[in-house]
Amino acid sequence: MRDRFLITTLSLLFILIIAGLFFNQVLLSGYYSKLSRNNSIRVIPISGTRGNIFDRTGRPLVTNRLSFDVAIIFQEIGDRRKLVNLLKRELGFSGAQIMSALEKAGNRPYEPVTIAEDIDKEKALALEESSFDVSGLIIETRSRRNYLYKHFGCHIFGYLGEVTANELETLKDYGYRMKDLIGRDGLEKYYESYLRGADGGIQVEVDSRGHQTRILGLKEPQSGQNLQLTIDMSLQLVCDKLLGDHKGAILVMDPRNGEILALASHPTFDPNTFVRSGTSQNRLKLLNDKVGRPMSNKAISGIYSPGSVFKIVTASAALEQKKITPYTRFFCSGSYNLGHTQFDCWKKGGHGPQNIVEGIMNSCNVFFYNTGRALGVDRLELYTRFFGYGKATGIDLTDEVKGIVPGKGWKRSHKKGAWYEGETLNYAIGQGYLSVTPIQVLNMISAIANNGNLVRPHLVRRVGANDLQNQKPKKIGLKDGTIREVRKGLFEAVNNESGTAKRSKPAGTIAAGKTGTAQNPQGRTHAWFCGFAPYNDPKLCLVVFLEHGGKGGLEPAEIARGLFEEARAGGYL
């Protein structure tokens, strides 16, 4: 008996369906036939505009501009010759170009097919006027991304690209359609879901001649959310100017909260190149440049030997582990012998007796060979990780790399060999297998400036109307004494007459810092500078990195001086 209940329920539902069909196909058939005959419902999509990007002072950096495209609806072409002439005259199309455009439009005859993108406003107006008596031609307006500063800040913003067919498969559930643009790198990618607006559209009834008669439905497009950055564009422009033709990166950050004030990586590219659809020569050139690699953000994706800037870690570790005290002195004769191998200091004649402050000030290799041996590789590895090396800093950009923090275990698994004592010596001066990104070096110097606290570097302070919360700083756990001694060394390096970083000494404020000159198998040495200011109350720290840039004490130190002075002028110090 129980299945009677089920049969009855299903039967009733079937009757409902039949009634629905009767209602639509018999009673309303006239109404629907009319709609169908005129094939009369069209949907005109309206894209939601992408959020704008502003710098910390509210200056617009990335916005949208109105642009004009030319499209053809093949089915509605009236006088073909007239259309061809118009395209020839106004757009300078050749015969072959027109043929291929018409063929393209013929494949999808009932919808507008774009044949020319982003044409001049004057041309668009001229065409719009002519299109009254040339049917089938329409001018479409749409908003396009506009990177106001072109090359400058390109690695912060990233660029946009069309979604691929593969991506569309999974993205279509989130409202993406064919030919939609999606963030490909930088903030455009990281904050894609916030920046992207939601598409809307109107559904209209049109008569047999294609004129709109009635609006059936409207869905308002929604704009994406704006981003306010921590970047100060004037400081950013200074960085870009100072980097000039060098390959390399500059990072400037507030050590107290991790706000990045400037991030430059050279060579650069112009994100506007990627705004138009289709391929272009310029775009391919940028993507295929394997030497300069303009698309890669060296500040977060490039890994290099840190050289002597790493001595900050070695010094801190040794003081923490009580392997040396502020009074420990090692004698530098110009070289250090381990078995039969001789490890040189950079200064031929030697530095004589050195304590920790002098060791940092002179960047004395022999002092750090001794310190490194006293520490041992395991403790060195531990402190390297404490300072944030070997993992991403967590900046709000994509494609950040981790670098390599070597150690006994790493060597066994990656190089299939035992650790040599000589490698510990190289490790202590920032050479060997150790590989770091410029932003990790920034993290390290910021920890020293910020009393041993690691902050999370970030670029965005506000999304839409919401201020982003700063993450709580992470304590490395360094004693006050340790930080004090290391800072003294960094102070002397900049301010002492014979300090290695003396060229970075700015006017008007007191800075501290460390240079680095890293040997590498690819050629000329990499040049580093990292430092902070003001010495007594650090408000700003920076890293200058020049790929194959020679000595850290020369150009990077001078660039740093310029930056400190500009930052002071800008009110940051």
Partner: protein, 366 residues
């Protein structure tokens, strides 16, 4: 010779014939939906569907010849294997960042959630059958509920709302004919309804959107609403007699997305008119009726559960699918059995029909 004749004495020829008539209608509709005058569209949909049909008929023969008790013996194994496939689809979907319901095998999409419907019916029938008359306690409902809940959640998060919701009435139907107390079942349904607000919370945005569009198609003229309106125009303009095969303008002009899969009925409605559509609906109803009939005639409790489960599953799929093409049901992505393009759905339905025939012809054996 005698045994064979005796075995096929109860073979439901009407059900069998009905199935093939509907299959033929489906092929004609797919052909019409994927071709277009003047424009070259892929002809391969009809061919692919024919390939699937070949495999399907093979499976149909197997499911008819092997006693359904053999399937019940391995019901739990099938169930677990199917669950593992569902998990695998989810994991692969995660790797590919987003939703995914199917595996691709030689260019053919394979959708484990479709087969889950049969695996669940078999597993539930196996449990209920074993219990004999002891289904009237509340405790005896625990295991069936778990059996249903696991695939329900896995399919829901795929996300495939329609298929997940379809499992629920099938579950209740099997328990009802299996002897569970109606008052417990009603309480479970009420509890489920009370949980709806929580459930709503877990839906993805676009799923919520689809349900809201059901209430007001103009809410989203670009997406689901557009499809519903276009589909209604297609079906409505078909009138009493239809525009004739291959003559539906609405379908040929690319107006309806997914018109060879979930919205295939709009092609039939437009080209075959009310009379054609009515005939197809009646054919479907006849199959449902025969299925209940088979469940009624068999004295085997297992067989009764299987037949009822399949009857409800089949009937509801038809009702929901046609209902959504004329705006009576939300667009939840359920194919029209035996008609919509798509291999997994076709194979599943043919296996289900095979099981029905199987139960029917062995009704006097058990």
């Amino acid at each position: 010779m005698i045994t064979i004749r005796r075995r096929y004495k109860d073979f439901d020829m009407v059900l069998f014939a009905m199935t093939f008539i509907i299959l033929l209608i489906g092929l004609l509709a797919i052909h019409s939906a994927t071709q277009s005058k003047g424009l070259v569209l892929s002809e391969s949909y009809t061919l692919k569907q024919l390939t699937w049909l070949g495999v399907g008929i093979l499976l149909l023969i197997i499911t008819i010849r092997v006693s359904y008790h053999k399937f019940l013996d391995i019901a739990y194994m099938l169930y677990i294997a199917n669950i593992l496939l569902l998990v695998l689809v989810l994991v692969m979907g995660h790797v590919r960042l987003g939703a995914q319901r199917w595996f691709s095998i030689f260019g053919f999409a394979f959708q484990p959630s479709e087969f889950m419907k049969i695996s669940l019916i078999l597993a539930l029938s196996s449990y209920v059958g074993q219990k004999k008359g002891a289904m009237d306690s509340l405790e005896s409902l625990i295991i069936p509920t778990i059996l249903m809940a696991i695939p329900f959640v896995l399919v829901l998060v795929q996300p495939d709302l329609g298929t997940a919701l379809l499992l629920v009435p099938v579950f209740f139907a099997i328990l009802l004919v299996g002897g569970a107390k109606p008052k417990y079942l009603i309480r479970m349904i009420l509890l489920g309804l009370a949980c709806m607000p929580v459930f709503w919370h877990f839906l993805r945005d676009y799923q919520k959107q689809r349900l809201l569009v059901f209430i007001n198609p103009n809410a989203d003229p670009l997406g689901a609403g557009y499809t519903i309106i276009q589909s209604k125009i297609a079906i409505g303009s078909g009138g009493l007699f239809g525009k004739g095969w291959l003559n539906g303008t609405q379908n040929q002009l690319n107006f309806i997305p997914e018109r060879h899969t979930d919205f295939i009925f709009s092609v039939i409605g437009e080209e075959w008119g009310f009379l054609g559509a009515l005939m197809l609906v009646l054919l479907f109803f006849l199959i449902v009726h025969r299925a209940f009939n088979i469940g009624n005639l068999t004295s085997d409790r297992y067989g009764k559960c299987i037949a009822t489960g399949i009857a409800v599953l089949f009937g509801l799929q038809v009702i929901i699918n046609i209902g959504m093409t004329i705006g009576l049901m939300p667009v939840v992505g359920i194919p029209l059995p035996l008609v919509s393009y798509g291999g997994s759905s076709l194979l599943t339905t043919l296996i289900a029909i095979g099981l029905l025939l199987n139960v029917g012809m062995r009704r006097s054996t058990f």
